[in-house]
């Protein structure tokens, strides 16, 4: 059997992509995960097992282009920490990360009004210097972050009293979409100082380069939106009151349905195109 040589008009493919990605989002279809992977469990337990009210550092090193994949991770981390009443220190080594932190602090103010700025959480904002910022805050945090995002001297912020460096902060939760980011937090903070533990949420694209650091240098990470959906589901199961709020609290599961559909479409196209390719080749050999 020979298959005629005919190219598919790319516009059909693009139209189908819009439908497949857009419809699940518009119809608010939710992707339900049956199992939670070991990696997600490790990250979840690292936050959950910390004593209530522990100090946690949250560097948000990503920008709006990765927001689609990473914002659900950032949201679940913040909600989980707030449920455990951890004290949160936000900062970023990406200039565009300031807006991403603002989303997290807005979430805290809307969903956890009891969280007070300066006492339960603080936003240290951005400092230039990329990975050298990490190298500095390990030894002397106030030398670089002498004031928070709004200009309040850190010495006047109750939460920051006694925080001379990040070596004694029991957990770092990094949300990262590239360099500098998670790799540098591992190399400069978590590897030389055993007291520093790190978990992360990262884009699927860079996740494969970070697997070598698990489990000795990093406890675990959410390497894709699927992991974020698993995490979210587990969090909502343990703290069902989160799902009863007015704000959308199942973003990862909603976005996962769209990703599921797009991936299945891609797989179908790859399989079909290979079948056509093989049939064509067989036809050519037969001639």
């Amino acid at each position: 059997m020979s298959v005629p040589e005919k190219q598919l008009d790319r516009r059909w493919l693009f139209a189908l992509t819009i439908l497949v990605v857009g419809l699940p989002l518009l119809l608010r279809l939710e992707s339900t995960q049956r199992e939670v992977s070991q990696m997600v469990t490790n990250v979840y337990e690292a936050i959950d097992n910390l004593p209530e009210g522990s100090l946690v550092l949250l560097p948000f090193d990503y920008d709006p282009s990765a927001e689609g994949e990473l914002q659900p991770m950032a949201d679940v981390f913040v909600r989980h920490c707030a449920e455990r009443k951890h004290k949160l220190i936000f900062l970023t080594i990406w200039p565009q990360g300031v807006g991403m932190i603002q989303r997290a602090t807005n979430l805290l103010q809307q969903e956890y009004p009891e969280y007070r700025y300066g006492i339960d959480f603080v936003n240290l904002g951005y400092r230039p210097g990329y990975e050298v910022v990490i190298n500095t805050v390990i030894n002397d945090l106030p030398s670089l972050y002498d004031a928070d995002q709004v200009g309040t001297p850190v010495r006047q912020i109750p939460l920051m009293r006694g925080v001379e460096n990040i070596r004694n902060i029991p957990l770092i939760i990094n949300v990262s979409s590239g360099d500098p980011g998670l790799k540098q937090w591992i190399q400069y903070a978590a590897t030389p100082y055993e007291s520093i533990n790190i978990v992360a949420g990262t884009t699927g694209v860079q996740a494969s380069t970070l697997y070598p650091y698990i489990p000795h240098q990093m406890i675990g990470m959410l390497p894709s939106l699927k992991s974020a959906a698993e995490y979210e589901q587990r969090l909502l199961k343990k703290y069902p009151h989160i799902g009863e709020r007015e704000s959308v609290t199942n973003t990862a599961q909603l976005r996962m349905m769209s990703q599921d559909a797009a991936h299945v479409m891609l797989i179908a196209f790859i399989v079909i195109s290979n079948l056509i390719f093989l049939l064509r080749r067989r036809g050519e050999r037969a001639v």
Partner: protein, 230 residues
Amino acid sequence: MKRTIPILIASFVGFLLIFSKFIPPFEEWETKVSVWFDILAAFAFVLGGGNLLKNQIKKVHEQKPGWGFAAVTGIAFLATLVVGLFKVGVPPAFQTPEHVWSGEYMQEGSAFWWTYEYLYIPLAATMFATLAFYISSAAFRAFRAKNAEASLLLGTALIVLLGQTTFGSRLTEGLPESLSMLRIDSLKEMFLNVFNTFASRAIMIGIALGIVSTSLKVLLGVDQSYLGAD
């Protein structure tokens, strides 16, 4: 002299920082030099901004192909800079109402916040979202089982791709426990944790050794390319 002094400075600071890792009393120097670097990095933004503006003005002035895009870049850069620096639309901070510029530049409702929220975020997200179209078009054209190596790549890609979906997990969840290693999730984890990890580690060790040798060349003054051509 023009080259010798910078080489000596680079060499001295480089070796100092290496030794500071091994000699505890010198640890503080590392922090100090890190802070200097962070300050210099802030100045780099000024240089970068100046350079960007200079290039765009030159392009527009000489009416080079694409000068319209250069004009848009220049205007967008200047507009963002002005609304950020002068804190346009930012009310004074609650604690210090007498100081007009005491508010935060990114405060909700300010011009800079508006630019970030309603221009930068949608533009950045749109640029990234167009990748979905390129990927969907490129993936099924590129992944062809043309030979053994390509077939291996195709098989691995399909398993990892399926493993990233809820559909993939459900496809093989019915397999008995004795065959659990053949489940899509387990296969995906195996590819990422075993094959990917040992290959990545090998690459990382190679890169690290390369960095050590390149850095030593710079510190010893053998490689002077960072000083420019003259």
